[in-house]
């Protein structure tokens, strides 16, 4: 029990440190909103996963109803253009940029534009 407690304490400390760390450098953090062609919950999963593997992306969230993907990123490491390109490579339109054709074909049927929002 004692070890568990100390373990928890260390764990909490660790998170506080991480949190503090993140808070000290918000100046390079930017938020980008991109209108995408995502249509369903599955698209949300795949887009957010793809974003998670992008360099410089801190977090991302897709609102399925409005199709808007909100991306928080580090402006020193990446740019809005890079992010839009990454969205295209995942198979979705990003603002005016169309999805890469092969990536679009790879999408599950329910994630394709023709499926309509559902």
């Amino acid at each position: 029990m004692k070890t568990l407690k100390s373990f928890l304490a260390v764990f909490t400390l660790f998170f506080i440190c991480v949190g503090a760390n993140a808070q000290t450098q918000p100046k390079n953090e930017q938020t980008l909103e991109v209108k995408t062609s995502a249509v369903c919950g599955m698209c949300k999963k795949s887009l957010e996963k793809a974003m998670a593997y992008e360099k410089g992306v801190k977090s991302s969230s897709l609102d399925v109803d409005s199709k808007v993907l909100t991306v928080v990123f580090d402006s020193r490491k990446t740019s809005p253009d890079n992010i839009r390109k990454a969205i295209n490579e995942t198979g979705y339109d990003a603002d005016s940029k169309p999805a890469s054709e092969r990536a679009y074909k790879r999408l599950d049927d329910c994630c394709k534009k023709e499926a309509g929002a559902h």
Partner: protein, 735 residues
């Protein structure tokens, strides 16, 4: 009094609405609409099913795609619209009297594809099916099909003998030869290729695997008895453009894989898949002077093409492989003939070539109607020697299948009908005797599918084949699925299977022994009935999903080719079943995401497999009655880190007796495998260990001191031979 008024006030609008509904003209009491394809042409869909959600009341669309439903039948303001070849949809119709429903087509080979559901336990298939997804495949030590079942509880993989390293799958406690293996739903690696077939499909070729328990559809022939394993190969249209995998383990075995995929113009796409594995290191960890597993090299090439344009989809595939293997005593020299050396060795050289085509045409404006043609050819040839015993074989096969699919009236009643032709030519040489046969098997099949669009699916099929040697074969099969609730599903499967055994090839373990191989009589085809059922319950606990599946299957043989190692310790006798032979298999499996990211799968299995040997009904050797399985899978968000731990418990197994040997039963044992992987955008690194506890069967080979003596036997393998193996590898992908 006050509360009563409040209640009344609340119900008043509803009553009013009812009143208005009731007094409206008849036309308005109906929901009318039209179902069209969600394509540029907006083609009306004829015969689409439209039903009120939660009821069995529905209708189908007429020649213009129009339908009408009575509002009085509704329990919720939602309708379910489904149509063959299209994604079903649930639509809210509250406040509407006339609607247009657009359904999106599935661009798939509908008549032949067992859909690759990404959920592990599909609620849609009429058969009891499980799916090993590509994500699951990455959890095991890669490499080939044999390892792909590591994290699955329904299929067991066991080593057949202590020298050749061959691995076999088992389902329902029955040998792998009773399971039909298909790749992209085309029967593959049949006949003589069965003993080593799991080595011939690289893990990197595979998109996902469907495991169907019980006799499935009649479309794929009469051979499946315990079930079907369908391997879906990578789709040229959807595969990664570049996929590279490199693997190495502590035995110094290496695997290299490279997949390249590209689109060629708008209609064509292709994938080239290369695989090679190499083991040059002679490993002997149990100090019996025998290699624990054979050394050797395999080269394997697969090229697949896909053409898709409007209603026509066609796939072509070519596969070629070459493999050589050397096993036996450490000091065995494979370049010196056996007669000129003291050391026992096994040698094998295999070549396989196969090609197939699968084409389908969907009738314009009638997505429920299609015609498909599947053709395949295969050439398989091997030369092998086990000590002084030579065993060579060749099999040439060809098959063609024509399938027509359509509806009877509306999509609630569909049928598939077709014709098939199979040609098989076998030649085998065992020491001095040569035997072989040529089979021509024309056949016809019909499958009827009833679907009431809410909770009942019935698939009744039968086929008649005219076997050139064994005459007419009739194969009936039935699958029923009933959804008691959307989360509670019952399934029943019953049917017959038929197959011609290749006794020596299917029991290659006996070659690695001093037992004399004899057939007591002319061997007849194997025939068996399989009946079983399953119960699936999906649930949610604490916001996380889980599944409970339990099933029971009973297989009974009318005839079986029995391999008798009991009656005579110095012989391996083959004869026709005289008496009973059956398998009873029970399995209960529970899967649940215990904590966010931590998925737990546990299973218990009970087998009772018995055969009549020489007039006595006894337990089949080397099948444990009790087994436990547990898999813990942990993943951080977006799968950046993944860790897996799989544990298995094997109960006691009966063994066949051997002279001057006191071991007649196996031991109870556990095995544990683990893997950790870290994913980056394009890279993925993985490392793991198999058989962490380093459990080894003691003396897997009997009579190692005199391999040419009369007591030598390497076929009594019931446990791991190699002990702990540590591995690491990397994957590189460009989407």
């Amino acid at each position: 009094m006050k509360t009563k008024t409040a209640k009344l006030l609340r119900t008043l609008p509803a009553l009013l609405a009812l009143y208005i509904l009731a007094t409206l003209p008849t036309a308005a009491q109906q929901l009318t609409g039209k179902v069209v394809a969600n394509t540029d042409s907006q083609t009306p869909l004829i015969g689409a099913n439209v039903a009120w959600k939660g009821t069995s009341i529905g209708t189908s669309t007429n020649a213009n795609g129009a339908f009408a439903l009575s509002l009085a039948d509704a329990v919720t303001p939602e309708i379910i619209v489904s149509y063959i070849g299209h994604k079903a949809d649930t639509i809210t119709v509250a406040g509407k009297n006339n609607i247009v429903v657009q359904l999106t087509p599935n661009n798939k080979l509908q008549e032949v594809v067992v859909e690759g559901q990404q959920a592990r336990y599909s609620s849609l298939t009429p058969t009891n099916s499980q799916v090993i997804t590509s994500r699951d495949l990455e959890k095991s030590a890669c490499c080939n099909l044999a390892e792909s079942f590591e994290t699955n509880a329904s299929v067991e993989v066991s080593t057949t003998d202590a020298v050749s390293g061959a691995k076999q799958i088992q389902m329902l406690g029955l040998d792998g030869s009773y399971t039909l293996l298909t790749t992209d739903n085309i029967p593959a690696l049949r006949g003589l290729a069965i003993p080593y077939r799991l080595n011939y499909l690289s893990g990197t070729y595979i998109e996902s695997i469907d495991i169907i328990k019980g006799t499935g559809s009649v479309l794929n022939g009469y051979e499946s008895i315990s079930g079907q394993v369908n391997v879906l190969l990578k789709d040229p249209e959807k595969a990664e453009r570049v996929y590279f995998n490199l693997y190495g383990n502590s035995l110094a075995k290496f695997d290299a894989n490279l997949n390249l995929a590209t689109s060629v113009g708008k209609k064509w796409s292709t994938i080239l898949m290369l695989h090679s594995n190499y083991l040059g290191n002679r490993v002997d960890r149990n100090d019996d002077d025998f290699m624990d597993l054979p050394i050797g090299t395999q080269y394997n090439v697969f090229n697949k093409w896909k053409f898709s344009h409007d209603a026509v989809v066609s796939e072509f595939g070519v596969n070629a492989l070459h493999e050589n293997k050397v096993g036996g005593q450490l000091k065995y020299k494979e370049d010196i003939p056996q007669e000129q050396q003291l050391y026992y060795g096994t040698n094998s050289e295999t070549d396989r070539f196969s090609a197939y085509n699968k084409s389908s045409y969907t009738y314009p404006g009638r997505p429920y109607q299609s015609i498909g043609l599947i053709t395949s050819v295969a050439h398989y040839k091997f030369k092998s020697s086990y000590g002084f015993r030579d065993y060579d074989g060749e099999q040439n096969s060809g098959s063609a299948r024509l399938i027509f699919q359509s509806i009877l009236g509306h999509t609630g009643h569909t049928y598939k009908a077709g014709l098939s032709y199979t040609y098989d030519d076998y030649t085998e040489t065992l020491t001095d005797s040569t035997f072989g046969r040529t089979e021509h098997i024309p056949g016809a099949f019909l499958e009827y599918i009833y679907n009431n669009a809410t909770n009942l699916t019935l698939v009744a099929g039968s086929r008649v084949d005219f076997h050139s040697i064994y005459g007419t074969v009739f194969t009936p099969r039935l699958n029923v699925k009933y959804d008691a609730t959307p989360n509670t599903i019952f399934r029943i499967a019953a049917g017959k299977g038929f197959r011609i055994a290749n006794p020596v090839a299917e029991n290659s373990a006996i070659l690695v022994s001093s037992r004399a191989i004899k057939a007591k009589e002319e061997l007849k085809p194997e025939e068996a009935w399989n009946i079983g059922g399953s119960f699936t319950q999906y649930f949610e606990l604490g916001g996380r999903p889980g599944t409970f599946v339990t099933d029971y299957y009973y297989t009974t043989f009318d005839n079986q080719v029995v391999l008798d190692m009991y009656s005579e310790p110095t012989q391996a006798l083959f004869y026709n079943l005289n008496g009973r032979s059956f398998s009873k298999s029970f399995q209960a499996e529970l899967q649940y995401e215990v904590l966010k990211g931590l998925d737990v799968k546990t299973a218990y299995k009970y087998f009772d497999v018995r055969t009549t040997y020489n007039g006595q009904l006894i337990q089949k050797p080397m099948i444990p009655q009790h087994r436990f399985f547990v898999n813990l899978g942990f993943a951080t968000p977006f799968d950046k880190w993944r860790a897996d731990l799989t544990g298995q418990y094997f109960g006691l197994m009966p063994l066949a007796p051997i002279e001057q040997d006191n071991v007649h039963k196996s031991e109870r044992f556990y095995t544990f495998n683990t893997q950790v992987s870290r994913a980056f955008k394009r890279w993925e690194l993985y490392a793991g260990a198999e058989n962490i506890l380093n459990y080894k069967q003691e003396n897997p080979i009997i009579g190692t001191d005199q391999p040419f003596g009369s007591n030598f036997d390497a076929s009594m393998v019931w446990g791991p031979i190699t002990g702990r193996v540590v591995y690491a590898g990397l994957r590189f992908k460009i989407d």
